[in-house]
């Protein structure tokens, strides 16, 4: 395998940051070598510096896409961490459907928009689809539910869109009864059934770029992706996610992540053993007022 020099790492990590926001440092030499080494060879390039130069100056986005596909980590599984899906089934969906039904008119069906912001090869989106199907069953058609899956990797989006999974992907997290119910055999693997596939749309998206045009979402899954960004970019990302969440919407982040100290616009809430986030209804001013009200004094909270 071709060895990478510290200078090449510097150039390539700068480039990868520019096109994807993924932050890699000198400690990741093995990652550059194992993931980008094959690209250097496949294109008959002399070294990693040439790969970087070609990607920056070359016509079209072909090489950029290949680099992003290779360097992004597609670690995912069906019903990952389980908690969020229980939360969805037992708390979020019932609450949202109640709230939306109260508001819905007779003509327009209740509509829900759910976004998986880094959907990788689609397992999260289809896990959500399965929860929806199991919860609403034949009533599913009475609602207008749209699932959107986005990811930075073309290759990941392509697989998500096909909805096909190999034996090892299926074995990770998908119980046998759900496999038989919601997938059909396809070649050496399995394919998600059409009715579940039809609930979802997939498209490529770089989370570092504006996404306000996607509209508002009732539920956003943004799990285990911000961890690949710098702390500053993490903050900005969650600020921008706050902008696309419905006022009573729900944000779900990774099991090992926390927004405490990252984004003050969200309040963590708890249901049983799961944490989810909602937009603040009581900003700091309100808190100040409420303390002042209770104590009957003016309070000087500097925060």
């Amino acid at each position: 395998m071709k060895k990478i020099t510290p200078e090449e790492i510097r150039q390539l990590s700068r480039y990868i940051y520019d096109v994807s926001g993924i932050a890699l440092d000198q400690s990741k030499a093995y990652l550059f070598e194992t993931r980008l080494g094959p690209l250097v060879e496949a294109h008959g390039l002399a070294d990693y510096a040439e790969l970087c130069r070609k990607a920056r100056t070359g016509p079209g986005k072909q090489l950029e896409n290949e680099i992003v596909d290779a360097i992004s980590t597609n670690e995912t599984l069906f019903f990952r961490d389980n908690g969020p899906f229980e939360l969805l089934r037992n708390k979020i969906l019932p609450d949202l459907i109640d709230a939306r039904s109260a508001r819905a008119s007779k003509i327009l069906p209740v509509s829900l928009r759910i976004w998986s912001a880094a959907c990788s090869t689609g397992q999260e989106v289809y896990s959500v689809a399965i929860v929806l199907k199991e919860l609403l069953q034949q009533d599913l058609n009475r609602y207008r539910i749209k699932l959107l899956g986005t990811d930075i990797s073309d290759a990941a989006i392509a697989q998500a869109s096909r909805g096909t999974y190999g034996k090892f992907e299926i074995e990770r997290g998908l119980p046998r009864d759900k496999l038989v119910k919601y997938f059909r055999p396809a070649g050496a693997g399995w394919k998600i059934k059409d009715d579940l596939r039809a609930m979802a749309t997939f498209r490529k998206l770089n989370l570092m770029l504006p996404f306000g045009a996607l509209g508002k979402f009732d539920i956003v899954f943004c799990r285990n992706v911000a961890i690949y960004f710098t702390p500053q970019d993490r903050k900005k990302l969650f600020e921008r996610l706050a902008g696309v969440l419905a006022p009573d919407g729900y944000l779900i982040i990774g099991a090992t992540e926390s927004l405490t100290g990252v984004c003050p616009r969200f309040t963590p809430r708890r249901h049983l053993r799961s944490i989810y986030y909602q937009l603040n209804t009581a900003p700091k001013n309100e808190l100040r007022k409420s303390i002042a009200h209770r104590t009957g004094r003016r309070v000087s909270l500097t925060a």
């Binding site: 090892f168 050496a188 926390s258 003050p264």
Partner: protein, 194 residues
């Protein structure tokens, strides 16, 4: 899952065409070379997941030469050898030189497909393992930062609770004074955590 890029090297046009005819519809991408020299040219231009080469070919390099060149060029390329009955001993030698496997001619396509699927599966698994390792490393680092941040906040809150407790126990102070102190503790804690 069959997205392997395969180079087929054989001086016999019938074998070449037959392999292409069987493998292309199964989803593999196939390049053909009629001798070792051509094979090396192709290998210089692109990266193959698998090279299937006849062991005995006229001219230089022969099958062993193609095998050695492929192994030297890249650790990603797996080599499958095709041998006539007479050359099994040589095939065993070739395995020692790094070939992934060998098949006797005439080629049994069912057997070839099993070998290729195994290579595809191995490549998939090694990518999955690499992704898993990276995801674990990054998650662990990020989780450590998160825990540190939460620990600090917990410590600040513990501290302010302790101070408020102390203040409330100072019964010699007027209620107004105690309230002012509690507020100042709260205010300091808010500043620290935001």
């Amino acid at each position: 899952m069959r997205n392997l890029n395969i180079l087929v090297v054989d001086d016999d046009p019938v074998t070449r065409k037959l392999i292409e005819k069987k493998l292309a519809p199964a989803g593999f991408s196939i390049t053909l070379a009629e001798n070792g020299r051509r094979a090396l040219e192709h290998m210089g231009r692109e990266l193959f997941d698998v090279v299937i080469t006849d062991l005995m070919m006229p001219g230089e390099p022969d099958g062993i030469g193609v095998l050695k060149a492929a192994r030297k060029k890249s650790g990603y390329t797996e080599v499958l050898l095709l041998t006539g009955h007479a050359s099994v001993d040589t095939a065993v030698e070739a395995m020692k030189a790094g070939a992934a496997d060998y098949l006797q001619k005439p080629v049994n396509f069912h057997e070839l497909m099993i070998r290729l699927d195994r290579i595809a599966e191995y490549k998939n698994l090694s990518k999955t393992a690499l992704d898993l390792r990276e995801a674990m490393d990054v998650t662990e680092c990020a989780a450590a930062e998160t825990i540190q941040e939460l620990e600090l906040r917990a410590a600040v809150l513990q501290d302010v609770l302790h101070k408020i407790g102390e203040t409330l126990r100072q019964t010699d102070l007027a209620p107004d004074q105690r309230l002012a102190m509690v507020e100042s503790h709260l205010s300091a804690a808010f500043t620290e955590v935001s």
